[in-house]
């Protein structure tokens, strides 16, 4: 194995706000510092910490200048969340590899397609010789606290780096709160013993049967109360200049039927039919009477 005091490498720790990404980056940096190496670490603070992507870039070696990893020079990705692992792959060097948790945190932005119910998120786990995906949360639970998943991943990473277990333990002790040291050390050791992951199982996703929606309004019964305007989840109703409701962007109608149920004048009709895939054109029918 490499002489640890001469080793240089570029790492990214990636995850979602609140997963302990910044802390994990500090632990790695502290280990390298203990070997007399130079180290630089970039952190993400501020707005991204509100549920956005969070990362820490760590560069270490005998002499390090900039704090950012250049494209094609990334050696390790340690990802606490599946989609965040994929985000950094384009920077990975030709020999770089990935330790990724199979934890999937699907952000609200992935669930925008309410008509067809498609999920814009990489639900399938990519099988690749350089991506080592494993159930870090499971190891963390085994250690005694699901929040130690990140440290379990560091344990796995440590098996690929030439630094001693003692140095890692010491760095963990330095950076995690005193009462959480024991459980984190257990998670680290479990991660370090990790050899091969059981084949990860993706979340099963049901294929929705396409439906056709008929949406109609008896204009003469509408008194312009605006209840449908307020309750429609897709916000497709609006009051026109005659104070009668009309539909805009009918293709966003999911056929939930809220407007029909809540219309005090029984002026709205929503008919949902399961159509054969061939007849399904994707458009909704809208006709004011």
């Amino acid at each position: 194995m490499n002489d640890p005091a001469q080793m240089s490498a570029n790492l990214v720790v990636a995850g979602v706000g609140g997963q302990g990404v910044v802390l994990a980056g500090n632990i790695i940096s502290e280990v390298t510092l203990a070997y007399g190496l130079d180290v630089k670490k970039a952190e993400v603070h501020g707005m991204s910490q509100r549920g956005g992507s969070v990362s820490a870039q760590v560069r270490f070696g005998p002499e390090v200048h900039g704090v950012l990893v250049e494209k094609g020079r990334l050696d390790w990705i340690v990802a606490f969340e599946w989609a965040e692992a994929l985000r950094w792959l384009p920077l990975l060097g030709s020999h770089g590899s990935v330790f990724a948790s199979t934890e999937q945190v699907i952000p609200p932005v992935s669930l925008r397609d309410r008509v067809e119910g498609k999920v814009r998120y990489p639900l399938e786990f990519t099988q690749h010789p350089r991506i080592r995906a494993f159930d870090a949360s499971g190891l963390a639970r085994q250690a005694g606290n699901v929040k130690t998943a990140g440290v379990a991943l560091l344990g796995a990473l440590s098996s690929a780096l030439p630094f001693s277990v003692e140095a890692w333990h010491q760095a963990i002790k330095e950076w995690v709160p005193a009462k959480a040291v024991e459980v984190n050390l257990r998670a680290f050791d479990l991660g370090r013993q990790w050899q091969s992951a059981p084949p990860p199982r993706p979340v099963p996703v049901s294929e929705l049967v396409p439906r056709q929606v008929w949406l109609s309004l008896e204009e003469s019964w509408c008194k312009g109360c605006g209840i449908c305007v307020n309750v429609c989840p897709e916000r497709i109703w609006r009051l026109n200049e005659r104070n009668v409701v009309e539909v805009q962007e009918v293709e966003r109608c999911t056929g939930c039927g809220l407007c029909e149920k809540l219309c005090p004048d029984l002026a709205i009709d929503v008919v949902v039919e399961s159509a054969s895939a061939a007849a399904w054109g994707g458009a909704k029918l809208w006709q004011p009477n």
Binding site: A5, G51, H65, G117, P122, P162, P233
Partner: protein, 596 residues
Amino acid sequence: MATATKTRALLLGNEAIALGALHAGIRVATGYPGTPSTETLEYLAKIAPPSVAVEWAINEKVALDEGVGAALVGARTLVTMKHVGLNVAMDAWMTSPLVGVNAGLVLLVADDPGMHSSQNEQDSRYLGRFAGVPIFEPTDSQECYSFVRAAFLASERWDSPVMVRTTTRISHSRSPVHTEEPDAPERRSFRRNPGKYVMLPANARSGRLRFLERLPQMAEWAENHPFNQEELRSTAVGVIAGGAAYQYVRDVMPEASVLKLGIAHPMPEAKIRAFAGKVDRLLVVEESEPYLEDQIRNLGIPVQGKAWFPRAGELSPQLVRQGLVRAGVLAPDGLEPSPEEWPETVARPPVLCAGCPHATPFLVLREIGAYVNGDIGCYTLGAAPPLLAMDTCLSMGSSVGLAVGMAKAGVRDQPIVAAIGDSTFLHGGIPGLIDAVWNDLDITVLILDNGTTAMTGGQPHPGTGHNLRAGDLPRLDIAQLCRTIGVRSVVVVDPYDVGATHRALLAATRYRGVSVAITNRPCVQAPVKLFGRSYAVNAERCDGCQLCMNLGCPALGWNLTHPDRRIARIDRDQCTGCTVCAQICPQSAIVPTAAD
């Protein structure tokens, strides 16, 4: 194998600045929170002894005024803010070099190129040069520590405030720091000197002359300052750089000669001329504006910079390499990223937290239909889908002024609303509200009071009754303040009560005159994470209408296994039990989980 021994501390740039200031013997530190400057005061509050006053100020202008006051009575003082914060303090900033200092006064300004967490990416070096003060620009945590110490000495030497300018990558990067023996500066006391300290025109005129006499002497000092360092290597190309850009150049083109400018103002003219004469081709690599480049070109020295390196956004090693390659001074190194076709991932923009009390008022405002002027804080995320409830957002406190302007322009078709957080209101919203009352305009000011400065991580403000270190302080009553200003319609409402919030905002927007509605739930994140009993979706009752999804709550997602439709699902670990989704669910499908 080397033994594991620790000799250096691993500090964030901001922490190193705090430690440097402490070791320079500061007695006062103040500022206003703002990414990426915030951690400086927070760290100081942890490490400084009680004899050092470390507390937040109400805004950057007041912070700088406090800094000048403290320095005049002989206390070395650190003032911290982000780049746009200096705009707020500009009035004091521009005259402070004429008044001078008694003990050292250092201003940390942290710029945010790339706008990780800001509304613009202005380059503060211009504002340091504009005021005619020395600007120190560190390139890593070690320099943050030593430059800030040197900055205090420079401040006293030049009888002027000194700017330490960082960027996000310097402030929010961690690297090892060696510390040195702390200073014990002699105690100075205030000596009356109205001719210098009272900026009447007559005094300011002589102050201006003293200031102009000082500039060439300061330039002489910068010429010989060790922070401006010539690193002569290959003479084929010479690069002038400072800050993060210096480090990227060193990584990408280690063979290039570099003139590293640790002092961005005044510029060492002779040193630059000498350097230019030693190299065949002169380039400037700098982030943001062509600040150095324009000045060097004005000296009549042929130089290139922004022709190859972008002016917008943050620099990166890739961009520096691309620029050097395009400039023809560096060969492509062929170290391309691994050629695999990697799977696509998904964008993950920031969102309001699960249980955030700001969601309901925006949902309601969208229903009511209003011109909504937003402001700076977490709640600016109310502009993003699915809430989509914000029409404008300009700068700290601007929401109220924008609303006043819309009312003055005669907008009548929809109510005009200013939506502003508690800390932002106290920082810069109050004068706008006074203007609205004074002119008897028809606007509604929605104050989203979550009892903290949430966006920057939960700092206290005058409405919280405590400060960074001091507790049990007078607590400002925002509702009472609005009444005192003359607002006749002031209502305080619980944003977790959807019906009450709807009624309150409807009444407020229908009120003829200035109305204020205050939502009063604490932030779910700060100072401690709040959790109540979590809620769950009854799969039998949920018909997949997606109304709850319009809250944008990250705890709400889809049950992906339901065969027929995408019904809602609540992540029990994230749910705070705020009940808002349960209140708006038309099917009453969202119910509390059994108590654990």
